[in-house]
Amino acid sequence: MSSPPILLRGVSYRYGETPALESVDLRLDEGDYLGIIGPNAGGKTTLLKIVLGLLLPDSGTVEVFGRPPSESRGVIGYVPQYARFDAGFPIDVVDTVRMGRLGTGRKESARAAREAAMRALTSVDLAGLAGEPIGRLSGGQLQRVLIARALASEPRILLLDEPTASVDTRVGRSVYELLEGLSERMTIVLVSHDIGVISRHVKTIACLNVRLHYHHSRELTPEMVEAAYGCPVDLVAHGHPHRVLPAHDAGGSG
């Protein structure tokens, strides 16, 4: 029996005194397409970084296909938030995407790497911008370049951090259409604070606000969305009165 793509057991992480994650259990199977929603500072990016191995949990275990993340490098395609990039960095689009071909032990010619990068760019409809410096791209274009970079590594799992933050609705929709196609051949986890939008696209949904609320539902039912929307309130009821909560985060968007 094969190990699940992602398996977290009792994972906790804190920044100094502030807990970011508390006893998070999560199991993803092949072909899952999970959307994790939650308020800002609810631990979403921390959770992704723990799965990636960029952060080590204070307690609990993390497995990616049955092995610790540090031994599974190259298996996961990571799409970080584009806003943290230095737009002035001297690099063009195709060279950015080629970074996805740098994996451990991958030996291939420069031509093969370039062709793989061009295929990834074509899949996000950006082949025409291959030679463009990244500083000249719009937010939505840069976002798709980062997705292409992750795809260029031919990952078995794709993790995306706020892939539609600060892009307009039309661009956001095109990103989700792209992910929907990809979800047929890889496991996808995406985090966002944009509940309204992602609830229409993902297969299952979880809510994270330090603790993870996930019911392994294969179908996205109205009850799931309801639970997701209701979750910050839930947490208040469970004794976190200081985390009162971006109710606007839940209701405003979408």
Binding site: F85, P90, D95, M99
Partner: protein, 278 residues
């Protein structure tokens, strides 16, 4: 002005300048892209501790500079990776401590107080011939590293987290680039002095960044700009002293020239950028 080329010391200064421009164009581009520009100043001053120790214990000061430079580079790298200390803090510490150690060691050294200032300002007109070979060797080493590791180095500078996730040996590459920066700084200290090293590792790459959209193009452009600044600085300071009998120290003259060019480039870049957006 052409008469200058008749002098062997002047020919040697030109060759040294061109070789130094290549090394600093490569490393300068990289530290600029990685946003650790102050590393060159930090390591240059850390090397001072080694120069002082050399005088104190009677071994060649440049060997001390190399040891201190490399140890500081590795120390900064390990402290950043393992202890998660801010790079800017570490660089400033190494900078001040190296300088302080150099002064303390030199003051304890027997005999006449050694002339630390000559290392600070250097003199490209009196480059020891062996250093032409050292600088040439450094250039070859840097070209080989760039030829083999260009893409991983570029990836790590652009996005360390993605590179790690993809399986690139991020920590090893970071330490490699810090070590090469230390080596470059120490070799060039003897060629052009600490101050001009900092300028050469910073200003040409900063100008190139205005216009180049790829690391290789930026390295080529930074090298060319460095070469132009050094040679025109050498010729004009020679012309001033031969023609008008005004003695301008060459190193500082090269720095002022480059800084002026940087100012022009920054304004031009802004002007061009604004036009292309409209």
């Amino acid at each position: 002005m052409i008469g200058a080329m008749e002098y062997e010391f002047f020919q040697r200064a030109i060759v040294a300048g061109l070789l130094a421009a290549l090394a600093s164009g490569i490393i300068g581009t990289y530290v600029m892209a990685r946003r650790i520009v102050s590393i060159s100043g930090g390591l240059a001053h850390a090397a001072f501790g080694g120069i002082g120790l050399g005088y104190l214990l009677g071994f060649p000061p440049m060997a001390g500079a190399l040891g201190f430079g490399l140890l500081s580079a590795i120390g900064i790298g390990v402290a950043e990776l393992r202890l998660r200390q801010g790079l800017d803090t570490l660089i400033a510490m190494v900078w001040a401590v190296g300088m302080a150690l150099g002064i303390v060691f030199a003051s304890l050294a027997p005999g006449a107080t050694p002339d630390l200032l000559s290392y600070l300002f250097g003199n490209i007109l009196f480059v020891p011939p062996a250093y032409l070979w050292y600088t040439g060797g450094l250039d070859v080493l840097l070209l080989v590293v760039v030829a083999f590791l260009y893409r991983p180095l570029q990836a790590v500078a652009f996005d360390e987290e993605f590179s790690w996730v993809a399986g690139v040996p991020v920590a090893a590459l970071f330490l490699l680039i810090l070590g090469l920066t230390a080596l470059t700084v120490v070799v060039l200290i003897r060629v052009v002095g600490v101050i001009l090293v900092i300028a050469l590792l910073t200003i040409p790459a900063a100008i190139a960044r205005h216009w180049a959209h790829g690391l290789v193009r930026m390295m080529v452009m930074a090298t060319a700009i460095g070469a132009v600044c050094i040679t025109s600085g050498l010729f004009s300071s020679y012309a001033l002293s031969a023609g008008a009998d005004v003695n301008v120290p060459t190193g500082p003259f090269i720095i002022l020239l480059s800084a002026g060019l940087y100012g022009v480039s920054a304004f031009a870049h802004r002007f061009v950028g604004r036009r292309s957006r409209t």
